[in-house]
Symmetry: C2
Subunit: 405 residues, 2 copies
């Protein structure tokens, strides 16, 4: 059961951005497994992609096509088209060419995305067969359907929408995401699509995306396994009447950047809330580090520790496991006598030893909550980093022993 | 159920090394939880210890006492005396002093070891109360009893013994180990004790231990969690009539070094075979790397991946997850088209894509075995590294959701 994740909120349409959904029967007949997204002419599109060296064929193509004025995004689930070598690349190219011909653009203006089983060749003909129906279905009001169309082991669709006022005009930022396992994004998540009708040139948009991804999708982890198919795309259609947003735009730039960050953070957290087998939503906050990397090292050591994750599942305030993870995180010259550990507001370890006022009952009450913050005070500098993760449950093992990624 | 681990073999006594076991009732009344080991005067003792910054009080003391001609090793289970601050250090000192007084040595000649729950103060008086009985029990023939006396979540005791001939004299190497969870040793395992009656000076012995630990205890991982209490000790009593072994001893040195490595490797593998919830014993071999570190990075990415571990548990030849782990291991400029992946002798991926001759039935048959080798050929250099690990089962989650380390 997802932790604190409800039904989709209202997802405001983004002028100039249409979405169409269809069923290609890739893994299961009748399942909505193909999504086309169309960005109006003149849109800027930015993307960040997995750093996994075994990146999937569609990821390689996306990187190449991103600079070619892309207009269409073609997403399929049920097959990741990863580890498929040259035949996989040919299959991806074929789907791009087919869509390009149907809509009258160059095939390099199509960005392909695949998610699902690794190591099986994409059934390109099935995808191509579904394109006319998906194009027929294109509509600015289809965000919710598209959020469902990109799901794999997700139990709930994920979408976030915000509206802001830029120079007197209403501007929308709407996004959807998917992913529940093989989640430790490295520059992006499994799949995330965020669109706005703001007017933003591509290089500025790319900067906005990179910064927001670093604070959202690049700060979540479910199982530490970076996917071969991670992609996160930010599209600006420029259909608003508001002026173009540049870095010189001051308050307006900051407002748009903050809104994009907020939307992406909520989308990223939704992935954690719906993590495979998750029963807890855990915020890991590391303060007082000398630099970003050592805060992240400590944060990931905690977030990936199977012993901490099983203790979270058991609601066991087993803080010895937290200390052990901090101690093995590889921070140079770590002075354990300066370290405080908190569960929510309760100090459990002060100066490296058990806090005098801490009681087991206090810890047990906090660990029983569905949402928990583990806070580490390193006491050696001014840097802070925050990660979000889940517990490790029987259900995680069951899902991944039964499902083939 | 441990994988391929039977009852203890014959453990030959080591002249000059006696072991005594007693019950202090630290965690449960009646359990054998205190072991004293006595090395005859003139013995050399070498040790390697956890690199976890939150190392336990006894580890800190061991490091200090190692250079003080130690004679006695005092081990307790049921309490790790870690994360206990200054009171924990006082408790450890008190037990050393009590034993030293009973046997008439300086308290710095006692090396203390603790394993069990982290974060609770060691009940020093209980340990001290058990010392007379343990001393009374000292005997060269007590290796098997000591192997049981140091167990925590282990399901079977672990011991290995070899005899070799050095300069016409029979020399024995016998060792015991324990550990089943929080296992990714970093310079040592939870606890390992190996003794020989060979004559070896301390600096030479320390070199032998470090080299053997690097190829044995430092190449196993169950859950990636380096313990706060890892210690591995090598004792040479020098009671043999054979000549002293130095690095200049040529063949004899090599024979002793190889025997120590073999004993330690089998002890380390025994820990993996008895890993928490283990149903598979997995060898991860990475060949063709440019250097040691990149081979280890790939090996650990595979060994720690929850997705690969759950696939191993399910006997699912899900090689896409193996590719994904190799791809995210952080090897610079990795050319995926040079990578071959084998399950035992079956090539499943050649040049980064599915091998043509590979069949799903072949993979399924291998994955159904209790012992499996995953071999990665990076195709970029001459370095190789081998790790040993386990799967991730429901039982692992159950044990760690119920047991408090």
């Amino acid at each position: 059961m997802p932790v604190g994740l409800g039904p989709l909120p209202v997802l405001h349409p983004v002028p100039g951005f249409r979405l169409g959904i269809a069923s290609a029967g890739i893994k299961r007949a009748g399942r909505k497994d193909v999504v086309i997204m169309e960005a109006a002419e003149g849109s800027s599109i930015a993307g960040v992609f997995t750093l996994n060296a075994f990146c999937a064929a569609p990821v390689t193509l996306c990187r190449q096509h991103l600079g070619q004025s892309p207009r269409y995004l073609l997403v399929n689930t049920g097959n990741a088209n990863a580890g498929t070598g040259n035949p996989g690349m040919q299959a991806a190219l074929k789907t791009c060419a087919a869509l390009a011909e149907l809509v009258g653009v160059d095939s390099k203006q199509v960005l392909p995305f695949s998610t699902g089983v690794i190591g099986e060749l994409l059934p390109a003909d099935k995808v191509i067969g579904a394109l006319p129906a998906a194009l027929e279905n294109l509509d600015e009001n289809n965000w919710a359907q598209a959020a469902e169309g990109i799901m794999t082991t997700d139990t709930l669709p994920k979408g976030v929408s915000r509206q802001i006022t830029l120079a007197g005009e209403t501007v929308t930022v709407t996004g959807i995401s998917k992913g529940a396992g093989m989640i430790k994004p490295n520059m992006a998540t499994m799949l995330g699509y965020i669109a706005t009708d703001a007017k933003v040139a591509q290089p500025v948009l790319q900067g906005l995306l990179r910064e927001a991804a670093d604070l959202s999708f690049n700060r979540i982890t479910i199982d530490g396994d970076t996917s071969t198919n991670d992609c996160c795309m930010l599209i600006a259609t420029g259909q608003t009447q508001a002026v173009e947003i540049t870095e010189a735009a001051g308050e307006d730039y900051t407002l748009l950047a903050d809104t994009i960050k907020a939307v992406m953070l909520e989308l990223a957290q939704a992935i954690v809330r719906d993590g495979e087998g998750a029963t807890k939503f855990v915020t890991v906050q590391v303060n007082g580090g000398n630099n970003r990397d050592e805060c992240l090292d400590v944060g990931y050591a905690i977030s990936h520790s199977p012993l901490i994750k099983t203790a979270l599942f058991a609601s066991d305030p087993n803080w010895g496991r937290i200390l052990a993870a901090v101690g093995r995180a590889g921070v140079p010259d770590l002075d354990v006598e300066k370290i405080d550990v908190y569960l929510d507001q309760a100090c459990i370890t002060r100066n490296g030893g058990r806090a005098e006022e801490y009681t087991e009952a206090q810890g047990a009450a906090i660990m029983a909550q569905a949402e928990i913050t583990i806070r580490i005070e390193l006491g050696r500098g001014e840097h802070s980093e925050t990660l979000w993760t889940t517990d490790l449950s029987h259900e995680y093992v069951r899902i991944n022993a039964e499902y083939r990624t």
